[in-house]
């Protein structure tokens, strides 16, 4: 292994700018003659707009314009589009209401965009927004799933009777019924998956900059996928041809899914910039982020599992209600369906699985993909249920899993819910987790905790996820309205340095390093002479961006395909320079050599020859050395793993402390182990956040967001989490040449059930069998008090 090639813990190339204050995030950018936008948002959860009086705001010298939904509707093509269609059980399409960037007649959640004030400074725009007088006729609102489906619930959309967006199913219901009829034991679980607010550290921001001379638009935005924004905003909202619209997502301060989607503010600043003839900048306050970034999760489910006498799973039946919020966000319908229910087979060979999902509109912020997107909901439900099933069957949590795992010789494995797993070794990751968690010495630790008056509990989860989204034709058949390939260009410069242009986007993942390692491995070029460019539609080929742990498995593979083309052409050039047959030229360690001889040229010689083609086979080969490839994966990838958590619970206060957390994961081949570990640490911490701290709370009477600031929504802090022990066990992905699977979401998928299973285990001596998530001190204390009575 080269010290900078595949498998090396190369220190990140991008770090220098971030540790010296040289990062360039959207809000760091200012354009000449720029003005500032502040969005007037609805303070009500559901209301008719009966009038907007902006005269007082407009009377201020520093206010340039106040624009409303009526102004925008007169000029734009359409509303914010939904990129994924889902059908009802009867085959009819889902309800798909319009989503104007600025509300025209009705607001449907607290935070809905009503108007935009544009002024000469941010403070002036904010001040003037206070002066915009909006008259509302308040309507009854509903924010929670149970109430949204109740008889007589307030109706949010005419086209969605009973607030149902779609009522969808997957799997063989009859086969599951038959499994239950044969079962000798069953277990069931009612489970809530708590609603979360992603909270990437960088608030969203956008700058629209219209160039009148060229009739061209530039949008700087905090996006994980600038081409997707260009496509959706250009074609669906503003009617701007793609060649006239450049979208730049510069350094982006975390995304976790929340920066995938096309948001209203992007369209508003782009449109307003042309209308006003000046660049328009908008930056969210954190308070705005809470009421305008898409939220995540928010499911209520009932699940039942059928077993035989040996505790082998015969069938699984799941009924889920999912909250989509007030409007369909960009990929919302895919999350509680194809990214959720298709994962309900888990790591198990359960022969029959059936799931029905009713997706509801409520008067809340739109809900969409958040780290894991559907897969954490599946793994939480399944791994809680499997622990319950173990108790029913009289088996340990480990034994019941081992009895039901897909065996190592069972791959490829076709699940009853659409997916085909290509590889894995679930026994090995379980064993690895047991080993690093010092599983066998738990009793001694439990005793030591008891001596301190604390209850120690242990929980485990085994998870599988589907990453790399996806083969385009499969995704298309399932409702995706976009392709899901990735692009990569390798531009070898005349002096031998390399510029990579990738459609993937890094907002913390470290592509500038990992992708450079792939180039170094393939071409032998010094890693410092490799530059990775991303996030600018004016520079990179059309790409789909980063989400679903897809960058390496799809974007990396596009890069590998482009590198293969470069190597093939380089061998042709080298063969000419060496006066040899192309078949005799070997390419290794940056040298192209006639096999078995000492006659060689360097890759640098070849690059120079390609651009200064004086001695070059011009009759058969084009000059230059630049190749582009698009890669469409053959299947999802299937990372899997086992997470083991130990908690200490203080029975007097209900405080849960995560004392130990071990993660053993199979991510396929690992390019940079340092970066992979970092991804696991971060994902696990978000998973612990979901399990113990984070909860988005609405007041169902008023529709107000109660957890609307970092003071009210508890994010994990440095002293809330322990050091994590992480390990990997590799089985290679069978359908991509790198053998990679993806690692970005695993922690957020595996951790919540491991943590809650541990809390339930700790409280088991009180007879507690279940605890609502997040297991806050209040909930834990109440569970202890109720059980003790």
């Amino acid at each position: 292994m080269s010290e900078n090639g595949i498998g090396a813990a190369v220190r990140r190339k991008e770090d220098h700018r971030f540790i010296t204050g040289g990062g360039r995030y959207t809000d760091d950018i200012n354009r000449p003659n720029q003005v500032y936008a502040y969005v007037v948002r609805s303070p009500l959860a559901h209301a008719r707009i009966t009038g907007i009086d902006a005269s007082e705001a407009l009377s201020r010298d520093d206010v340039i314009a106040v624009l409303t939904g009526a102004d925008m509707a007169a000029e734009v093509v359409g509303g914010l589009p939904c990129g994924w269609g889902v059908c009802n059980k009867d085959g009819s399409p889902m309800a798909e209401p319009a989503h104007p960037p600025l509300a025209t007649d009705t607001v449907r959640y607290v935070g809905d965009q009503v108007a935009v004030v544009i002024a000469t400074s941010r403070a002036a725009a904010r001040d003037a927004a206070e002066l915009v007088d909006v008259d509302y006729d308040e309507l009854p609102a509903v924010t929670d799933l149970a109430s949204a489906g109740a008889d007589g619930a307030p109706q949010i959309w005419e086209e969605a009777p009973a607030n149902v967006c779609f009522d969808w199913e997957i799997g063989d219901s009859a086969a599951v019924d038959e499994a239950f009829s044969k079962a000798t034991q069953t277990a069931s679980l009612d489970v809530v998956n708590n609603r979360l607010i992603p909270n990437a550290m960088e608030p969203r921001a956008a700058i629209g900059d219209y160039d009148r001379g060229k009739d061209e638009y530039t949008l700087f935005t905090t996006s994980q996928n600038p081409h997707v924004i260009r496509l959706l905003m250009g074609a669906n909202v503003l009617g701007i041809p793609e060649h006239k619209l450049r979208v730049i997502a510069p350094d982006v301060g975390g995304g976790f899914g929340s920066k995938i989607f096309h948001y209203a503010e992007e369209a508003i600043v782009t449109w307003a910039s042309k209308r006003l003839g000046r660049p328009v900048k908008w930056t969210a306050d954190r308070s705005e982020s809470f009421v305008s970034d898409a939220h995540g999760r928010d499911h209520i489910s009932h699940a039942e599992i059928a077993m035989n006498d040996d505790g082998e799973f015969l069938g699984l039946r799941v009924r889920t209600t999912a909250n989509l919020g007030a409007y369909l966000s960009t990929f919302a319908p895919s999350v509680p369906t194809y990214l959720y229910a298709t994962l309900l087979a888990g790591n198990y060979k359960t022969p029959a699985v059936y799931c029905e999902v009713k997706a509801m509109f409520t008067n809340t912020v739109p809900v969409d993909a958040y780290r894991g997107a559907g897969r954490p909901e599946a793994s939480y439900l399944l791994e809680r249920l499997v622990d319950k099933a173990a108790k029913v069957a009289g088996l340990t949590p480990i034994e019941i899993r081992r009895r039901n795992f897909v065996p190592n010789d069972g791959f490829p494995y076709q699940t009853p819910v659409a997916l085909e797993y290509d590889s894995g070794d679930y026994f090995a990751v379980l064993d690895k987790a047991l080993e690093i968690s010092d599983y066998d010495n738990f009793a001694a630790r439990k005793k030591a905790s008891a001596n301190k008056g604390l209850l120690r509990g242990r929980g485990l989860s085994t998870y599988i996820e589907a990453c790399g989204i996806a083969p385009s034709n499969v995704a298309g058949a399932l409702g995706a309205r976009a392709g899901l390939y990735e692009s990569g260009t390798v531009r070898v410069n005349p002096t031998g340095s390399v510029t990579v242009l990738t459609g993937s986007h890094s907002h913390g993942q470290g592509h500038e390093t990992t992708f450079a390692q792939l180039v170094h491995e393939a071409l032998g070029v010094d890693i410092d002479a490799i530059e990775v460019v991303h996030g600018d539609t004016g520079k990179i080929p059309f790409g789909m961006g980063t989400y679903g742990s897809r960058s390496l498995a799809v974007g990396g593979m596009a890069l590998v395909a482009a590198l293969d083309k470069i190597k093939a052409k380089a061998r042709k050039i080298a063969a000419h320079l060496l006066e040899a047959s192309e078949d005799d030229v070997e390419f290794e360690n940056g040298e192209l050599r006639i096999a078995g001889t000492d006659r060689a040229v360097t890759f640098g010689d070849v690059a120079l020859a390609a651009y200064v083609p004086h001695n070059y086979p011009l009759d058969v080969l084009e000059p230059g050395l630049e190749e582009t490839a698009f890669y469409d994966p053959k299947n999802f990838t299937f990372p899997a793993g086992c997470h083991i958590c130990e908690v200490e619970v203080d029975p007097d206060t209900g405080v849960v402390n995560v004392d130990r957390f071990c993660a053993a994961d199979d991510f396929g081949r690992i390019i940079n182990p340092m970066i992979v570990e970092g991804q696991v640490h971060g994902g696990v911490t978000q998973g612990i956040g979901q399990a113990l701290f984070e909860e988005c709370v609405y007041d169902n009477e008023s529709g107000q967001l109660l957890s609307g600031s970092m003071m009210d929504y508890c994010l994990p802090k440095a002293d809330n989490v322990p050091n994590f022990d992480v390990a990997t066990n590799v089985t290679l992905c069978q359908h991509n040449a790198l053998g990679v699977k993806g690692c970005g979401e695993a922690g957020a998928i595996g951790a919540p059930p491991a943590v809650i299973n541990a809390v339930v285990d700790a409280l088991s001596e009180y007879g507690v069998e279940d605890i609502a998530i997040p297991a806050t001190p209040q909930r834990v204390w109440q569970a202890i008090q109720s059980a003790s009575r």
């Binding site: 220190r11 990140r12 991008e14 770090d15 220098h16 700018r17 971030f18 540790i19 010296t20 204050g21 040289g22 990062g23 360039r24 995030y25 809000d27 760091d28 941010r122 403070a123 909270n199 990437a200 550290m201 960088e202 608030p203 350094d251 982006v252 301060g253 975390g254 976790f256 306050d285 954190r286 308070s287 907002h507 913390g508 993942q509 470290g510 340092m674 970066i675 570990e677 970092g678 640490h681 971060g682 994902g683 696990v684 911490t685 978000q686 600031s709 970092m710 003071m711 994010l715 994990p716 802090k717 440095a718 002293d719 989490v721 050091n723 994590f724 922690g747």
Partner: protein, 156 residues
């Protein structure tokens, strides 16, 4: 009424016209053009805006620009000297203490202040000290590792 504020920023004298409500972070970012200091919240929770004023770490979103008049202000841009990374910066890179980089300047400025008063902190002390700095990417483990490593380097 605008007033003139003058202070030393990373060793150089600066001044700007500000209003009485201008926050120090806005003056530094918007008027002085040093964008390494970030704003991640509006409730003084996240710590992305931590800088040093007269040698002490402060959340610059929670201080008025006027209050900095005459002060010695250091931001992330002033931590490296003569092109040499400070050991704390080097440790963040070495130990992968950052991912998206948005919280990083505040983390580094906060950690530097910790080591001024406690040059040999325990892991628990580092975690407790960094309670006022949120990171959503790293799970804190490598940040803590970086701070402990920098402390060891700086003690020599």
């Amino acid at each position: 009424m605008p007033s003139t504020v003058s202070f030393t920023l990373n060793g150089e004298p600066v001044s700007a016209e500000v209003s009485s409500r201008t926050l120090l972070v806005d003056m530094i970012r918007e008027q002085l053009g040093r964008t390494g200091t970030h704003v991640g919240c509006d409730t003084s929770q996240c710590g992305a805006c931590v800088i040093h004023v007269d040698g002490v770490s402060v959340k610059s979103c929670t201080m008025l620009a006027l209050q900095a008049d005459g002060a010695d202000v250091v931001t992330i841009e002033g931590v490296a000297r003569n092109g040499e990374l400070h050991p704390m910066q080097a440790a963040f890179r070495e130990h992968h203490g950052l991912q998206c980089g948005f919280c990083t300047p505040g983390m580094i400025m906060s950690a530097l202040d910790l080591l001024q008063t406690n040059p040999d902190p325990s892991e628990g002390e580092v975690r407790e000290w960094l309670e006022g700095n949120l990171c959503r990417c790293t799970g804190y483990q490598n940040i803590v590792k970086a701070v402990l490593s920098a402390a060891a380097t700086m003690r020599g």
